[in-house]
Symmetry: C2
Subunit: 130 residues, 2 copies
């Protein structure tokens, strides 16, 4: 439990595993915002939003601005860089998979074309003679 | 609750928010493995590992091979591609931050050099006259 709490990647991925928190980060990507401003687009109470903000803060994904009255929240993207770096190690796997799918699709298209030609050889010849 | 359960990104990020599950994926990146093989490097019971495997399966990150006896698990990287794509939208933010840090570092180095030169102007002149 303790090691989980201190692993930055655990905190980052856990913080990202919620649509409201991802939406808050997307909003902050357009500029700093106060808690009231952040709560606005959601059908959520301010305490519920504050709870989400705390999770994001603990993960180091947001911080508080200097303005003591508004306390605007700001996006801190460094943990996202670390998460991306972890995921990048698996890029070869999904790229290989997409290449397999591309090859399969090309094969299917070729088969489809062959079937089409076998079904209507006359049509094809007629077209050629024009 | 229900919408959270059906959002693939929620499932992917939640599955990644645990060091054991990330280690299992890293192991499967080197090749398919049975549950017994996956459990080996961890000081964990097989039921505990099975629980982690269920979370990874539900997120679509692993699947079961054809071998009915061993039931080897295989890495499915497609959800990782989706997670990376989501994170990529924030690349500009951390790159901007790193550029700021680079600029700050360059500024600090320049200041340090100036201070050094101010402290030992003679040394510098002597070196120049050689």
């Amino acid at each position: 439990m303790d090691s989980a709490a201190t692993n930055p990647l655990d905190l980052t991925f856990a913080a990202l595993a919620d649509p409201t928190r991802r939406a808050i980060l997307a909003r902050l990507a357009t500029g700093d915002a106060s808690v009231t401003e952040l709560a606005e687009p959601f059908a959520m109470s301010q305490p519920a939003i504050s709870k989400h903000l705390k999770v994001l803060e603990r993960a180091g994904l947001i911080s508080r601005g200097r303005d003591a009255q508004r306390r605007p929240r700001r996006l801190d993207a460094a943990p996202l860089a670390e998460a991306t770096m972890w995921l990048e190690r698996y890029r070869q796997f999904w790229e290989a998979r997409y290449q397999q799918l591309d090859a399969l699709l090309a094969e299917l298209k070729k088969d489809e074309l062959k079937k089409h030609e076998a079904r209507a050889p006359g049509k094809r010849r007629r077209r050629k003679s024009r």
